[in-house]
Symmetry: C2
Subunit: 281 residues, 2 copies
């Protein structure tokens, strides 16, 4: 597996593979890999001849009071894990390589970025779409792979790629969960043992939501209350948002119909976790 | 010359040329060609094996009170002119093709877009960078060609292409002028005979600026007054701005040094004309 630290290096790597006629898949990540990341890499390996993983904790998508400095990092472990699943190159640029002196261009999706995490984390998605645009331009992949766990991010990136005619395929893969249902996240490492235990309520509440729909419930507010009641009665759980919206436009619905998402963000101590479920009503 | 009206058609055209190993040059335009446009196409022909011209009067870069509806259009004449200089394909999409229902992504350069035309025309450069990003993604050119007449636009696009790692070369070519010095512009057709005559003051004032620097003048305010006095005393000339700034960062300077631009926008009746000169002090 080749380790590329500069834009020039990864461009050269990709150009060589392209000359050989290979297709290229990109898995953009912020590192500290878990099974969720690995499932993206494995899927990329299946459908592309060369797989590039980018590992960049993107300062642009963190707010001033967020966990950019504390975000967990373990480059050696990440490299070993990526290599084990057959990744061909890892692109690990410095902040300066990505955002040189004088950098002043941003890509922004409006509308669907104003809700859910976009409301709680102003500027977050602008940081995401800007760095993802750069990564797409640098690596020029045929396909890029993202996790369903960051559902809004996935929709925002699909919107951006379509609107700007980026000419690549965006593949969204299912959330990978721990045995007890907690969505895998690099941030789970922040949780103490009690918080970790209590955090299982998130997925349980989403399953209850799905089950209630299966049993015929269509009232959005009742379903929302079902989720919030379960979470609010869990010790240490501090709700940021619980929303039920249409997919992919994230519009509010009084009565559920079509494809809908229940999405939530909940704090346990200082750790903010997100999860979601998409249901076809 | 192939006429492509859909994104799919032009992508197919470019893919075929690429399969043949050809380099591709793009000349983005709003049509109503003059010698300035043709000089860009001719230069593109010299350095690229296939030349694509896009012709799209981009609604996104016009303000609500601007001349989008009146902007001059003559598709048949444009086609004949492009074909005569050897253009290989012309991409002429509809508004709906470029901005389908639900479109909500923009590319924005900050800083240098807040001055000159960016100040007079809020949102203008956001419209330019968004459409140019789309055109770059659709045509995937090796080189794209722009005129120095729109100096700020050229700098903004260079900034965007560098910041977002667009991986193509941006070529800026000299302003083409009428015999009497007036910068060629599709908007010159709006001028009546008197306005057309009076508009020659623009380039004359820029030449006076350059000559004063040649004679040792370095005081920005004196030089600015030299230009504004010439224009202000011309019948029918209504100054929007006259600015002298550093290149490429468009910073104000008390004493001139290095590469500087004198840029101006002046209205004759309803017609707003721009011009500029870049001088190495």
């Amino acid at each position: 597996m080749q380790i590329c630290r500069t834009i020039q290096e990864i461009r050269t790597f990709v150009a060589k593979r392209r000359t050989g006629g290979q297709t290229v898949g990109l898995v953009p990540t912020m590192g500290y890999f878990h099974q969720g990341h690995l499932s993206l890499m494995q899927e990329a390996k299946k459908s592309c001849q060369s797989v590039v993983v980018s590992l960049f904790v993107n300062p642009l998508q963190f707010g001033p009071k967020e966990d950019f400095a504390q975000y967990p990092r373990d480059f050696d472990r990440d490299c070993a894990m990526a290599e084990a699943v057959g990744v061909d190159a890892i692109f690990v640029p410095s902040d300066r390589e990505m955002y040189p002196e004088g950098f002043c261009t941003h890509v922004e999706v409006t509308g669907i970025t104003g809700k859910l995490c976009g409301q709680s984390r102003p500027g977050h998605f602008r940081g995401v779409t800007t760095v993802v645009s750069k990564l797409f331009n640098i690596v020029t992949p045929d396909k890029a792979f993202f996790g369903q766990k960051d559902a809004q991010q996935a929709m925002v990136i699909q919107r951006m790629a379509a609107d700007l005619n980026m000419g690549l395929e965006i593949i969204i893969l299912p959330t990978v969960r721990e045995e007890d249902g907690l969505a895998m996240s690099s941030r789970n490492v922040y949780l103490d043992q009690t918080q970790r235990q209590n955090a299982t309520v998130l997925y349980r509440s989403l399953c209850t939501f799905r089950d209630a729909i299966d049993h015929g419930e269509r009232n959005t507010e009742s379903l929302r209350r079902l989720i919030t009641d379960m979470i609010a009665t869990t010790p240490g759980a501090d709700i940021d948002y619980v929303e039920i919206l249409s997919v992919p436009n994230l519009e509010p619905l009084v009565l559920l119909q079509g494809k809908v998402i229940a999405a939530l963000a909940v704090r346990f101590g200082k750790t903010r976790l997100i999860d979601n479920i998409i249901v076809e009503v």
